[in-house]
């Protein structure tokens, strides 16, 4: 920072950033160009990286370039490999950037683009990137051990166990909600369903090629897969227009949900090289490619944001998700601002490849800044659409009905003028029968991306192709998550049950394998099915649960970071993780509380369940349930969701108590009491 030129550059960045933010935030009446949003974000991230990340590296976690990292100490050429920092950055980014940052911001756009943008930027700088960076360093100083392990050694075995249960619950909810996103996107869409179905034989072909024909040729496999996928994408239109083929690939939501469960079960017991690994190659490369393409598209097209900066729905009456700005915006945008899941990655493969501690800020903090760009781009893609179209796609059928005329009337009455023609025209443009009530982010993002890409290549004619490409990209990604998530949840279940029934731990046993997978699928399958048949469209109900769980995990990771800093006798700077931890706890606890106990049926699970239970007792059927059986189903779902939210709140509270206890103890200890490995004198091993 001593270089006067770099100081000058920083000042210039600050001025540019302030100007861009001012333009974004203060303009009223006229539409703002997306480039301002991008400029503001880039400036904020660069400044944060230069100042805050370096501050943390120097004064908080105190990165020491001379300290030997596990990658060097245990170098085996396999798991532990000192890796070039740019290569590792790519690895880390590919591991943390998922479907999450693409979905949350799209949903949050119902409050306008400004609240979402501000939370993404403030969140990433002070919470998300801080968490990723600190956990990476903390894990690196413990041989790259996992979050659960670290919590166990630094906060006690009970805290470790509670955290693990929390992680399992998150896995279940994540798989369920992401599967729901796919189901929502594919219901009644033969083009989409055919393309996504085609990925299965494609992946199997790749798998066989990479195992027997040309072993280990990842590039060749991926290229073959990509070509086949594109062919399936083009042929998908023919399928959707064919009267004989189209019905074979046209399913309603509940049927697709069952197909997903059967698929998830089979895929998770197959050998990894056959389906999971090859599809993961496609997923990863397609994801990175699409993110880059979207960024280039936005810069070239420079679209105007049609969504207002702030809509009236900040009062909590929005159709996409219920609840007021606080706490629900902060729950809805989890990934992109702060994602607890990253704590698992930052304490997973990445710390085992960190060449030097000095590279920690670049990988840990920088990687997360990069992900926040993805979130910003998703927000832009949703905001370049006509707001009327956005609301038509994201509002539940229970509110806007199922035909274009009715939807247009309802949405126009909210103040977002739209004609039925515009809705049907958009559906025709993208090659679908209807675009109504396709909540879940993916389709909206797809239309937004199609809108942007079509202006670069192909115009209106290729709109349908781009739309289905975007759907394919997200669905492919999510199917990999469903498959991998089912496996991870299975191993976690085996581990937990195995503590009581040791024989169940044996992962090579086929019986265990099948039982474990069935349990795992049953758990997420329940929530998926409940979501698909949910009167409010599922996303509305389940996304807050996902957001709460992901933020809860981030809260836990930040509590752990605070504990570690205090135990290092660095309590003067422990506010760095303690501050965002407090904020996340406030958000998750408030949101959890409201989801359970709010009197408003649209928000509170319990109130909603009571409303339906009361009607059921009178023998009445409330829309959109059609039979008394469905009514009973709604009541059960509400009770289960309330219990789930309650469990999350309990996990958070328990971790908070353990955290405070560990902090007080660390504070009282005269000497540092952390369990680091290979550090400077003063740590426990070297005392």
């Amino acid at each position: 920072m001593s270089n006067p030129l770099s100081k000058l550059g920083l000042v210039a960045l600050a001025i540019l950033g302030a100007f861009a933010l001012g333009t974004v935030a203060l303009s009223r009446g006229e539409s703002v160009n997306a480039v301002w949003l991008v400029t503001a974000s880039v400036c904020v991230c660069l400044i944060a990286y230069r100042l805050y990340a370096q501050f943390i590296a120097k004064h908080v976690i105190q990165c020491d370039p001379k300290r030997v990292t596990p990658a060097v100490r245990y170098n085996d050429g396999l798991d532990y490999v000192p890796t070039n920092k740019y290569v590792l950055f790519g690895h880390h980014f590919a591991a943390i950037a998922g479907a999450g940052p693409l979905v949350g911001p799209v949903l949050a756009a119902q409050m306008g683009y400004l609240p979402g943008t501000l939370w993404i930027l403030v969140g990433v700088v002070f919470a998300g990137a801080v968490q990723d960076f600190l956990v990476l360093m903390i894990s690196s100083r413990r041989d790259g051990r996992s979050l659960g392990d670290i919590i166990r050694t630094e906060m006690g075995p009970t805290a470790g166990g509670v955290a693990l249960i929390g992680v399992l619950l998150i896995m279940i909810i994540i798989v369920a909600i992401l599967a729901l996103v796919v189901v929502k996107a594919l219901a009644g869409s033969p083009w989409g369903t055919f393309t996504v179905a085609a990925t299965i034989p494609t992946a199997i072909l790749m798998g066989v090629y990479g195992r027997y024909i040309r072993p280990g040729r990842v590039g060749e496999m991926s290229l073959i897969g990509f070509v086949l996928l594109m062919a399936a994408l083009v042929y998908g239109r023919t399928v959707s227009e064919s009267p004989t083929l189209a019905p074979l690939f046209t399913y309603d939501g509940p049927t697709l949900a069952v197909i997903m469960m059967v698929y998830g079960f089979i895929a998770s017991v197959l050998p990894v090289w056959l389906l999971l690994a090859p599809r993961d190659y496609l997923t990863t490369f397609l994801k990175i490619g699409t993110i880059v393409a979207l960024a280039i598209g936005i810069v070239i097209v420079m679209p105007d944001l049609k969504m207002p900066a702030v809509t009236k729905f900040i009062d909590g009456t929005g159709p996409v998700f219920a609840g007021t700005l606080f706490p629900f915006l902060f729950i809805t945008i989890a990934c992109g601002a702060v994602s607890g899941f990253h704590a698992l990655i930052s304490s997973g493969t990445t710390p085992k490849m960190l060449e030097n501690e000095a590279q920690g800020p670049f990988i840990g903090y920088g990687g997360m800044l990069m992900e926040s760009f993805v979130a910003i781009m998703a927000l832009i893609a949703a905001s370049v659409l006509e707001p009327g179209i956005y609301f038509a796609m994201n509002s539940p059928a229970g509110l806007i009905g199922t035909d274009a005329a009715n939807a247009a009337t309802v949405i126009s009455s909210w103040g977002f003028t739209i004609t039925p023609d515009m809705l049907t025209q958009m559906a025709t443009d993208v090659g679908e029968k209807s675009i109504l009530s396709r909540a879940g982010g993916a389709p909206t993002l797809a239309v937004g991306m199609a809108h942007i890409f079509a202006k670069v290549i192909g115009g209106q004619a290729l709109m349908g192709f781009w739309y289905h490409f975007a759907i394919l990209f997200e669905a492919l990604f999510i199917l990999t998550t469903v498959d991998a998530g089912t496996r991870v949840a299975r191993f976690m279940i085996q581990d937990m049950v195995g503590a009581v029934v040791p024989a169940f731990k044996e992962t090579k046993s086929w019986a265990n394998n099948l039982i474990g997978s069935a349990l795992s699928v049953a758990m997420w399958g329940y929530f998926l099915y409940a979501g698909v048949t949910d009167p409010l469209g599922g996303i509305n109900t389940l996304w807050p649960l996902f957001g709460i769980s992901n933020q809860m995990l981030a809260g836990i990771a930040l509590i752990m970071s605070t504990v570690v800093l205090v135990k290092m006798k660095l309590h003067k700077v422990a506010w760095v993780p303690a501050l965002p931890a407090t904020w996340l706890l406030i958000c998750t606890l408030t949101a959890g509380w409201q989801k359970i106990f709010s009197d408003v049926p649209a928000i509170g699970f319990w109130a909603h369940g009571n409303k339906f239970a009361a009607a059921l007792a009178d023998g009445k059927v409330l829309a959109p349930a059609k039979t008394l059986d469905q009514m009973a189903q709604v009541v059960t779902n509400d009770r289960v969701d309330a219990v789930m939210a309650g469990l999350f709140v309990l996990v958070v509270l328990t971790m908070m108590v353990f955290g405070v206890k560990a902090i007080l103890k660390g504070f009282a200890d005269a000497k540092p009491s952390v369990h680091e490995i290979g550090g400077a004198p003063g740590t426990v091993e070297n005392a």
Binding site: I174, V218, V272, A277, D280, L344, I345, T481, V488, M492
Partner: protein, 67 residues
């Protein structure tokens, strides 16, 4: 210039492969030869399979990627 481009291309390739959990094979071989000359070195095929299983085989329920 050509050299620089080659280095760059190699790095891109390494990044792409590491993104899907396959570290540099040459580096692995070099490491084994120099540190453990007495121990066997996996062929590329074995190395590839081992890494694949390691990434997705769920050792200790590890999570290789985010949602």
């Amino acid at each position: 210039m050509l050299e620089e481009f080659k280095t760059f291309a190699k790095m891109v390739k390494q990044t792409g492969r590491l993104m899907v959990g396959i570290p540099d094979y040459e580096n692995y071989v070099a490491h084994r030869r120099s540190i453990h000359p007495d121990l066997p070195v996996m062929s590329y095929e074995e190395f590839f399979r081992e890494r694949q299983l390691n990434r997705y085989g769920g050792v200790n329920g590890r999570i290789a990627r985010c949602c």
